[in-house]
C-alpha cells in the first residue's frame, strides 16, 4: 500500500473501504477515491495502452483530461479514471488492448513504429482499387481503432435540464475565482461560482500553501447567501450572449450570465524527451494531487524536474510524503536561489542547475519508469515529476472571442479578450503568484460590477510582483524517437517535423495531417509544444503559428445531457375518443391522429367501400377538425384577403362562402381553402391542415408591411369541424333542433349560416370535398362531442356512417379535387391546375400576380388531368410514377385510387400541355418498368356536371 496518513487525503474517508475490480483483479480503495487514485494506492500504475503503439500508460495529470487514464466501465466507455469515483462492486477494465492490459498482443506495434510514419493512413489505404478503402481497409482499421466499447443495452439514465440566471458567473474556484466571486457577491451581485472539482480551492486544495488561506476564503464564501457554489460542475462551453452550459452529473444548467469571469487556470505542460510517456513520469501537479487529495505516495525514489517554483514545492511535498528525492534538476542556468531553493538544500536534496532530463528507460515491457538520464548519467528512480511550465486554459476564453498571442520577452502564451462582458482572472490571465491571482480576481469582479451599474470603489492598481520569464524547453527530436508530443495520438517530435517537411506549414493543416490535438485532451498537453515545433521548423515565431480553433464542448459530454425528452408530439381532435369507441383505425397525418377507416383492419377494403357508398347514396360524417381555421377581423378584412388570395373577396357578400387560392411570390400554389364572410368586417377562412401554421405566419408577415387594419386569429385548435355529406344530409340536419333553415332556397350552395344546432353554437358552410350535398358544421371544440353525438343520433334512422381519411381521399379523387402538396409541387401554377377561373383578372394586385403573368408568357409546359384506367386493368402505376412523352418524362402521377362508384382505377397526373385534351392517350411507366397507355379525362370522373352538390 502506498497510502499516507492524515492530514493527507482530503477527499477520502479511511473508515469506508470500497471494493472494486480492475481487469478482473480485486482492488480496495476508500470512499472518495477516484479509480486512478485507488489503483495507484495499491501499486497499479498502468491504466491503459496507447492508441497507436500500445505502450503502457499511467497517470499523467490527475485532471482526467487525457487518454492515458481513460477506462471502460460496464456501460460507459472512455470514463476518466482520474475523475470517476469508485463505488462498491464497480467493474473496471482497460481500453485499447488486444488481449489484456498486462499482455497486449498489439504491443508489437511499438517495434514497427518506423513503418507507421505520420500520414500513414492517408498514403497507404488509397488503393489498390477505388473501393479498397471501404471494402477492405476500413473494416480492419475500425476493429483496431477507437477506445472504449459502447454498451447498446445500457440501462436508461435520467437526465434533467434546468435554467440558471445570474449577474456574474465565475468559472473556476481557484484563488482567482474565489477572489472574484467573493468580491462580486460582497458588492451585492447575484453570483454563481462553478468548478469541475468536488471541492473549491483549485491549487489551494492540493498545492503547497498555508491551509489558512483556503479556510479563510471558504468562511467568507459561506457568509454570502447571494453566492451559489456549484462544485463537481463543468462549464463546457461559451456561446453567444453569455449562454453557458454547466453540467453537474446528469443535470444540465442552461446558464445565462450578464457578466462572466473566466478563472480557468493553467494547464501544466509535459516535457519532451525519449520515453517521456512511461508510467511513473507525471506532472508535478499530479503528484501533489495524489498526495493531498488521496493520500497516495506517488513513488519511492523520485527525480524532480523543476523549471519553476511549483517544481520546488512539489519536491518539498514529496519529502513530506516520505518519498526520497534523489535529485532535482533545474534546467534554468540562472544562479538566483530563492527561499524554496534554500529550504530544499537544507533538507539535503541535491539540486543540479542547468541540467534537464534527456531520456528515460523503463522496466521490461516499459511497464514503469526505471531510470532517467541527466547530464549524461543515468539515475535509478521510480518517479519523475515534471514542472517545466504552463499554458493558460484557453478553451473557454477562445470560444468567447479571445485571441491567443505569444509574448517573446517573457515566453508566455497570452490571451486577449475583446472589451465586453467576459473577463479573465488568475493564471489564465498570466498571473504567477497566489496574491496576484486573488487580486486579479478582485479586479475582474470590479470590472464586471461597474458594467452592471454597481458603484464600485476604483481600487488602486496593485502592481503585480514582477512576472519572471518562463523557461522554454528546447525541443529536439531524439534519434531514438518515442519523444511524445501528443500522448493521445502517439505523435513524436519527428512526426510533426515531417508534416512541415511535407508542406503542412499552417497549424490547422498540421493538426489535420498528423491528428495532433484531436484526441481526448484536445491539445491541452500538446498545443504549445506543437506551436513551438512548427515555429522552429518554419522559421516563424510561436505567436505567428498560434493554436488551432477551440470550439465547444470543452470536454467530453454524455449524449444524454444533450438529448431531449422522448415524448412524441401528437395532436388529437376533440372527437378522438368517439373515433376510438367506433373502432377507427387511427393514422398519423402530420402531427394529427385521424381515423383512416372505421372497423377491423382485416376488412379494410370492404369498410372503405361501404363508407364511400354511404356518402354517395345515403349520408356520411367526417371529422374535419384538423383543417386550419383562421378568423380575419377588421375594417380592411376584405382588402386583406384580396391581396393574399387570387379571388375577389372585398366584394363578397355577407353570408357567402368563396373558394380561396393562395400563391407565393413566385406564383406557385401554396394553399387553398374557403372564406366565409360572417360580417362586413369579419371572415372565417380555412387552410389546409399542413399549411395553416405557415399561412398564419405569412398573413401577419405581409401585414407587418401593409399595415392594414386587420387582426388575424388562429382558431385551429379552438374550433372543431364536422362534415355531414350525402344525398340525405339535409334530412339528417332538419331533424335536429336548430334555428337554421337548411332548405335549398334558404341555404344555397356556397353560402354560410350562423346559429345553433342541438344547442351548440355553430358556423355552417355549404361546401364539400365529396361532390355531394354537404354541410360543414364548425363549433367550439369544447362542444364538439355533443354536436357529434347529436348528429350521429339524428343520422341513425338514415343510415349515417362516419367515414375516414381513405374514403375521403377516394371521394375527392372521383371529383378530381386536388390536395395541395399532394397534387401540387413547388412550381405548380393555377393554370397548370386549370384554375384560371379562381384567379381574378380585375384585381390590380395579389401576391404572386406579377409572377404568374410572367410565367404565362414563358409558356405552360404541363397540365394536371384525370387518367381513367380500363376496368380490370392489371398494371396500375403508383403515385410519382413518370408520365412519358417520346420516351422523355414530362410529368408524374400525383394521386391514384380505385373508385367503387366507377368500378375502375382513376388518377390525377401532370401530362404534357399538348396532351391535356379529353381522349388523348398518355404513356405511364409503372413501378415494374412496364409502360401503359391511359386515356385522359378532362372533367370530374364522377358527376361531371357537378349537379349533386347543389341539390
Amino acid at each position: 500500500m502506498n497510502r499516507l496518513p492524515a492530514p493527507f487525503g482530503s477527499r477520502i474517508d479511511r473508515s469506508r473501504p470500497v471494493h472494486f475490480t480492475f481487469e478482473g483483479k480485486p482492488f480496495e480503495g476508500y470512499e472518495g477515491d477516484s479509480i486512478a487514485s485507488a489503483l495507484a494506492g495499491s501499486g497499479q500504475w498502468v491504466l491503459s495502452r496507447s492508441f497507436k503503439y500500445h505502450r503502457p500508460r499511467g497517470i499523467l495529470s490527475m485532471t482526467g483530461a487525457d487518454a492515458n487514464a481513460l477506462v471502460q466501465l460496464p456501460s460507459e466507455p472512455n470514463a476518466a479514471a482520474e475523475r470517476t469515483p469508485i463505488v462498491e462492486g464497480l467493474r473496471v477494465s482497460a481500453q485499447n488492448v488486444n488481449g489484456s492490459l498486462e499482455r497486449d498482443r498489439d504491443a508489437i506495434m511499438d517495434r514497427f513504429g518506423r513503418f507507421l510514419p505520420v500520414g500513414f493512413y492517408y498514403r497507404t489505404f488509397m488503393g489498390p482499387r477505388r473501393d479498397s478503402w471501404l471494402k477492405f481497409w476500413e473494416p480492419i482499421i475500425r476493429r483496431k481503432a477507437g477506445l472504449g466499447v459502447i454498451d447498446t443495452k445500457a440501462p436508461h439514465r435520467h437526465f434533467d435540464k434546468t435554467h440558471l440566471h445570474c449577474d456574474v458567473l465565475v468559472v473556476g474556484a481557484g484563488p482567482a475565482g474565489l477572489g472574484a466571486a467573493i468580491a462580486a457577491a460582497e458588492a451585492g451581485a447575484g453570483v454563481v461560482l462553478c468548478d469541475e472539482n468536488p471541492e473549491i480551492g483549485g491549487a489551494l486544495s492540493y498545492g503547497r500553501y498555508d491551509p489558512g488561506i483556503l479556510s479563510g476564503l471558504a468562511s467568507r464564501l459561506e457568509a454570502l447567501p447571494n453566492l451559489n457554489v456549484l462544485t463537481g460542475t463543468v462549464c463546457n462551453g461559451w456561446y453567444e450572449d453569455n449562454w453557458l452550459p454547466l453540467i453537474q452529473g446528469n443535470r444540465l444548467y442552461r446558464t445565462r450570465a450578464r457578466e462572466v469571469i473566466l478563472a480557468t487556470g493553467a494547464i501544466e505542460q509535459p516535457a519532451v524527451f525519449h520515453n517521456n510517456d512511461l508510467p511513473g513520469i507525471m506532472l508535478g501537479g499530479a503528484a501533489q494531487r495524489l498526495i493531498r487529495h488521496y493520500g497516495v505516495r506517488p513513488g519511492q525514489g523520485a527525480v524532480v524536474l523543476a523549471a519553476n517554483d511549483d517544481g520546488y514545492r512539489t519536491a518539498l511535498d514529496l519529502l513530506d510524503a516520505g518519498v526520497s528525492v534523489i535529485e532535482l534538476a533545474d534546467p534554468r542556468s540562472g544562479d538566483e536561489a530563492g527561499p524554496l531553493h534554500a529550504e530544499l538544500r537544507g533538507k539535503g536534496v541535491a539540486i543540479r542547475k542547468g541540467a534537464t532530463v534527456e531520456a528515460a528507460e523503463g522496466t521490461p515491457g516499459n511497464r514503469h519508469l526505471a531510470s532517467v538520464r541527466i547530464g549524461g548519467s543515468w539515475i535509478a528512480c521510480d518517479l519523475l515529476t515534471v514542472s517545466i511550465g504552463n499554458a493558460p486554459a484557453w478553451q473557454l476564453p477562445c470560444q468567447a472571442g479571445g485571441k491567443v498571442g505569444y509574448e517573446a520577452g517573457t515566453q508566455m502564451m497570452t490571451i486577449t479578450l475583446p472589451k465586453g462582458s467576459v473577463h479573465l482572472a488568475g493564471a489564465v490571465a498570466g498571473t504567477d503568484e497566489l496574491e496576484d491571482a486573488i487580486a486579479s480576481g478582485q479586479r475582474a469582479a470590479t470590472a464586471a460590477l461597474s458594467r452592471l451599474g454597481h458603484a464600485v470603489a476604483v481600487e488602486p492598481l496593485v502592481t503585480p510582483k514582477s512576472v519572471r520569464p518562463r523557461y522554454v524547453q528546447p525541443i529536439v527530436a531524439d534519434p531514438k524517437g518515442r519523444d511524445f508530443v501528443d500522448f493521445d495520438e502517439d505523435l513524436q517530435v519527428k512526426d510533426l517535423q515531417n508534416a512541415t517537411k511535407d508542406g503542412y506549414r499552417e497549424i490547422e493543416l498540421v493538426k489535420r495531417f498528423t491528428t495532433v490535438g484531436m484526441g481526448p485532451s484536445q491539445g491541452r498537453h500538446s498545443a504549445l509544444a506543437t506551436a513551438r515545433i512548427v515555429a522552429e521548423a518554419t522559421g516563424r515565431s510561436v505567436g505567428e503559428i498560434g493554436i488551432t480553433t477551440a470550439r465547444p464542448p470543452v470536454g467530453p459530454e454524455t449524449l444524454g445531457v444533450l438529448a431531449g425528452h422522448h415524448e412524441v408530439l401528437e395532436r388529437r381532435t376533440a372527437l378522438h375518443t368517439r373515433h376510438i369507441a367506433l373502432k377507427a383505425e387511427m393514422k398519423p397525418v402530420g402531427s394529427w391522429w385521424r381515423p383512416y377507416f372505421y372497423g377491423d383492419a382485416s376488412g379494410a377494403e370492404e369498410a372503405v367501400r361501404e363508407e364511400i357508398l354511404a356518402v354517395r347514396e345515403g349520408v356520411g360524417l367526417l371529422d374535419v377538425s384538423t383543417l386550419g381555421k383562421l378568423e380575419i377581423r377588421g375594417p380592411d378584412a376584405g382588402e386583406f384577403l384580396d391581396r393574399l388570395y387570387t379571388m375577389a373577396h372585398a366584394n363578397q357578400p355577407v353570408g357567402r362562402v368563396r373558394y380561396c387560392l393562395m400563391l407565393n411570390e413566385m406564383g406557385s400554389v401554396v394553399d387553398d381553402g374557403v372564406a366565409y364572410r360572417l360580417a362586413q368586417d369579419q371572415f372565417y377562412v380555412t387552410a389546409t391542415t399542413g399549411a395553416v401554421a405557415r399561412v398564419y405566419a405569412d398573413m401577419l408577415f405581409w401585414n407587418a408591411e401593409w399595415r392594414l387594419k386587420v387582426d388575424v386569429l388562429n382558431l385551429t385548435g379552438a374550433f372543431s369541424g364536422l362534415n355531414v355529406t350525402g344525398p340525405k344530409a339535409r334530412q339528417v340536419l332538419e331533424t335536429l333542433d336548430s334555428d337554421i333553415d337548411f332548405s335549398h332556397d334558404a341555404f344555397p350552395y356556397l353560402s354560410g349560416r350562423d346559429g345553433t344546432v342541438a344547442g351548440v353554437p355553430v358556423r355552417v358552410m355549404r361546401i364539400g370535398f365529396t361532390g355531394e350535398l354537404s354541410y360543414e358544421l364548425h363549433c367550439p371544440s369544447s362542444l364538439a362531442l355533443s354536436l357529434w353525438d347529436a348528429v350521429m343520433a339524428a343520422g341513425r334512422p338514415h343510415g349515417l356512417r362516419p367515414y375516414g381519411l381513405e374514403a375521403s381521399r377516394i371521394l375527392r379523387l372521383e371529383k378530381g379535387h386536388i390536395l395541395i402538396g399532394q397534387d401540387t409541387d413547388a412550381i405548380t401554377t393555377p393554370d397548370e391546375l386549370g384554375f384560371g377561373w379562381a384567379v381574378s383578372k380585375k384585381k390590380p394586385f395579389f401576391v404572386g400576380k406579377r409572377s404568374i403573368e410572367m410565367r404565362a408568357r414563358l409558356g405552360q409546359t404541363r397540365k394536371l388531368v384525370g387518367l381513367q384506367f380500363p376496368a380490370g386493368a392489371r398494371n396500375i402505376p403508383g403515385e410519382s410514377c413518370l408520365v412519358l412523352r417520346g420516351g422523355a418524362p414530362v410529368g408524374q402521377i400525383t394521386s391514384v385510387g380505385y373508385s367503387p362508384s366507377l368500378g375502375r382505377h382513376i388518377a390525377l397526373a401532370y401530362v404534357h400541355v399538348d396532351d391535356r385534351a379529353e381522349g388523348s392517350r398518355v404513356t405511364v411507366k409503372c413501378r415494374n418498368g412496364e409502360l401503359v397507355e391511359v386515356p385522359v379525362v378532362a372533367h370530374a370522373f364522377f358527376d361531371p356536371s357537378n349537379a349533386r352538390q347543389e341539390i
Binding site: 453567444e240 449562454w243 413566385m666 398564419y696 405566419a697 401577419l700 408591411e705 406579377r850
Partner: protein
C-alpha cells in the same frame, strides 16, 4: 445561445424567433421588367455590412425589424414595423 430583444416581449433566446430575411426594396410590379423581377425574387445580396431584417417571435406571431451587422453578428437594435415607413 444568442439573445434577441423583441420590441414586444423583451429579450428572449433566439430559438424563439424565425428569420424572414432582409427587408427588400419594393418594386412596382407593373413597372419592372421580367429579368429584374426574377432577380428581385431569387437573388440575395448578402453584402458585408448592416442589414435590416424581418424577424418573427414565433409564440406570439409578432413581426418586427432588427438591424444586424453581418460581419460581427451584433444585433444593433430592434424596432416595430411601424417605423419602417419612417425609414423608407
Amino acid at each position: 445561445m444568442k439573445l434577441l430583444t423583441c420590441p414586444m416581449n423583451g429579450p428572449r433566446n433566439i430559438d424563439e424567433f424565425q428569420s424572414f430575411g432582409p427587408v427588400r426594396a419594393k418594386l412596382d410590379p407593373d413597372g419592372t421588367a421580367d429579368t429584374d423581377w426574377s432577380r428581385h425574387l431569387f437573388r440575395a445580396e448578402n453584402r458585408k455590412g448592416i442589414v435590416v431584417e424581418w424577424w418573427r417571435h414565433v409564440p406570439s406571431n409578432y413581426f418586427f425589424l432588427a438591424e444586424r451587422d453581418l460581419v460581427s453578428n451584433e444585433i444593433i437594435r430592434t424596432f416595430d414595423a411601424s417605423e419602417l415607413r419612417d425609414l423608407a
